[in-house]
């Protein structure tokens, strides 16, 4: 198992290397450049050229790429062109919010999706079944930002149950160590700060969870239906085991493999998809920052962001592969 993990991590190196080369070429081939964003309408060809020269953008691409890699091995992602601050500093400040939001959405999707999918399969053809299948179709169709606006209008603005914007109430004087606000609250034992941060996470979390929730319901339902038809479930019933034991030990455990796969794939999707939700709730995650970086063609920020997403995605899927061997002894990791 240990060797498997080490090998998978080593395999990550060439993958990231390839990805970085492709990205570098693609980004630099995009029309325009950071100088346009910095100067706007006022730029003359001379000033533009001057800025390109200063940023080192006139040098051949391989040399620029070499510099990028040299910094990268020292875990330095360079300096943002528009904010003039270290990219790593910017990320450490903003990324935790996005990660918290993504994890909240995933917890909601898993916590609601698996039980709902199971019940839908067990009571196939019932109202619950039709409602969850129909609902999941709706969930995948409604755009996240639209759902986010609707939720905000109803539950935050009209009913006032949830805060409308932000990650934490400004009146709370919270200490921030890691910038994961919930974690910070727990670490410093400032329970009110942690509770308030969770409170702020719920509405955006629900909005962001809609698509993964729908997918998990569908996959769980299909997978449970298949397992329910297996002979060993009949054996378990013939032993007179309780409904609970049959469900947990014999049905769900066997039905979890496809669900685990989809969870791994969905997490990456969510991380990059959190941007719109963050905008609606003025949630200070990485969303707005990345949006600006795209329109400004802030090369170092974009490169760093995509590389980090890739690493997280690979790690999550490594976890999924490890969970396979825990779920099913026939899957031996080598």
């Amino acid at each position: 198992m240990f060797r498997f993990i080490i090998r998978r991590l080593l395999q990550l190196v060439p993958t990231l290397f390839g990805l970085s080369i492709l990205l570098f070429i693609w980004l630099h081939r995009l029309p325009g450049g950071p100088e346009t964003a910095l100067l706007g309408e006022r730029g003359t060809p001379e000033t533009r050229a001057q800025i390109r020269e200063n940023l080192g953008l006139n040098e051949p691409l391989p040399i620029q790429y070499g510099r990028f890699v040299k910094r990268l091995v020292q875990l330095d992602l360079g300096t943002s062109i528009s904010t003039k601050r270290e990219v790593t500093t910017e990320f450490l400040q903003r990324f935790p919010g996005t990660v918290e939001l993504t994890m909240t959405a995933m917890l909601i999707a898993i916590g609601v999706g698996i039980p709902l999918g199971y019940l839908a399969a067990r009571r196939r053809g019932s109202f619950l079944d039709h409602a969850s299948v129909g609902g999941s179709l709706l969930g995948t169709c409604v755009p996240i930002f639209f759902l986010a606006y609707v939720l905000k209008a109803i539950f935050a603005e009209n009913l006032g149950w949830f805060p409308t914007i932000g990650r934490q109430d400004a009146s709370i004087d919270a200490t921030h160590i890691t910038n994961f606000f919930v974690l910070d609250g727990l670490l410093t034992r400032e329970w009110d700060a942690a509770a308030d941060a969770i409170w702020h996470l719920i509405l955006p979390g629900v909005a962001l969870a809609s698509i993964p929730l729908a997918i998990i319901v569908r996959i769980t339902r299909a997978s449970v239906l298949e397992v329910l038809g297996e002979d060993f479930v009949r054996t378990a019933e013939a032993k007179g085991l309780t409904e609970r034991t049959v469900r947990r030990r014999h049905v769900l455990r066997n039905a979890m493999l496809p669900v685990a796969t989809s969870i791994g794939l969905l997490t990456g999707l969510l991380l990059s998809g959190a941007v719109l939700t963050e905008t609606v709730f003025a949630f200070s995650g990485i969303g707005a920052f990345i949006k600006d970086a795209i329109s400004n063609l802030d090369y170092p920020v974009l490169m760093g962001f995509i590389m980090i997403i890739a690493v997280i995605f690979a790690l999550v899927n490594l976890l999924v592969d490890i969970s396979y061997s825990l779920i099913d002894p026939r899957v031996r990791v080598r």
């Binding site: 009949r234 054996t235 085991l241």
Partner: protein, 332 residues
């Protein structure tokens, strides 16, 4: 009084837009304590559905209708609610299934699959349950049981898997064991071992056994009483000796004739029953076997044939049975 008394059991499957299927159409038989009873017939004659109905394992949904009664020690199994049925299953009535690989949960160790029955019905836990499970595996002839408890089904051979399933079924010393084609998925040498094991367990523990099979060879070796099923009804029932000495129903004779024999002459052809199980007449319109029967007479069609009793307890459902004095053609 019999341990299990099945009267007029019927199971119908109906689906919207499709013809209703009567899988079991009035089966009656009884099992005494410690007795081995065979249910014999071709695929599709309703053997397995009968056993699933007794265990309450048929899908509980509209479209599946179970009728008749099955009194086990006085209580009608067919009328029990799901909760009480779960108490009976595995404790009083246990079942062994056909395909040992697919009948075992692939992701749960063998040990847990045995102990979970002990935990559920015998209030055992932890080490006591593991110790008992190891003893059970030992009793069904699995060597090195302590190690096997930790293994998974895919690490066991076919015969070992079936032994493990048998261990789970006998774990709570049930009074009735139902074995649904327990040897069909195994190769011949293992088949004999498994049958021998079942015979031993039944003899030692006094458990009654319903043996469901299409193999008359299995029946000949084990069963005290034999019920031959055709198209969802019992067509002949007799003690083993009487049946093999003088079978009366043409279907039973046909079944016996179609067994391949090692001592048959070279080039000698098997005599299969012509047609297939699908060529049936509904029982209400006459004898279901009539379309395939060589001894058919006019009286076979028109009214359903009744069970004809004889003084020995041998009964058959036929208007033109083979005569009791053995003519050459009825001998196999």
């Amino acid at each position: 009084m019999a341990l299990l008394d099945v009267q007029d059991l019927s199971v119908t499957f109906s689906r919207r837009g499709q013809r209703t299927v009567r899988a079991v159409d009035g089966v009656s038989f009884s099992v005494d304590a410690g007795e081995v009873v065979g249910l014999v017939g071709e695929s599709g004659c309703g053997k397995s559905v009968t056993s699933l109905a007794l265990m309450g394992l048929l899908p509980r949904q509209r479209g599946v209708q179970v009728g008749g009664s099955a009194r086990f020690d006085g209580t009608d199994l067919l009328k029990l609610d799901l909760r009480s049925m779960r108490d009976v299953r595995g404790r009083d009535v246990a079942m062994i299934f056909q395909d040992p690989l697919s009948s075992l949960n692939p992701v749960v160790p063998i040990g847990l699959q045995v102990t979970e029955v002990l935990v559920r019905h015998r209030d055992m836990s932890g080490e006591a349950a593991r110790k008992e499970a190891a003893e059970l595996l030992d009793r069904v002839g699995i060597p090195d049981p302590r190690r096997r408890l930790k293994e998974y089904p895919h690490q066991l051979s076919g015969g070992m898997r079936q032994r493990a399933l048998i261990a789970m079924a006998v774990a709570c010393r049930p009074r009735l064991l139902i074995a649904d084609e327990p040897t069909t998925a195994l190769d011949v040498t293992i088949q004999a071992q498994i049958l021998e094991l079942l015979k031993e367990l039944v003899r030692d523990s006094g458990t009654a056994l319903i043996m469901i099979t299409h193999d008359l060879g299995v029946v000949a070796g084990m069963c005290d009483t034999i019920n031959v099923l055709y198209a969802g009804r019992v067509v002949e029932t007799a003690r083993r000796k009487e049946l093999f000495a003088g079978r009366r129903h043409p279907y039973t004779v046909g079944l016996l004739r179609s067994i391949p024999r090692l001592d048959a002459g070279r080039g000698e052809k098997l005599t299969p029953i012509r047609g297939s199980v699908r060529d049936v007449l509904p029982w209400t319109e006459g004898c279901a076997f009539a379309p395939r029967c060589d001894r058919r007479v006019d009286a076979c069609v028109g009214a359903p044939p009744e069970m004809t009793p004889t003084h020995t307890g041998h009964e058959f459902r036929c208007v033109n049975p083979f005569p009791l004095t053995q003519p050459e053609e009825a001998r196999v």
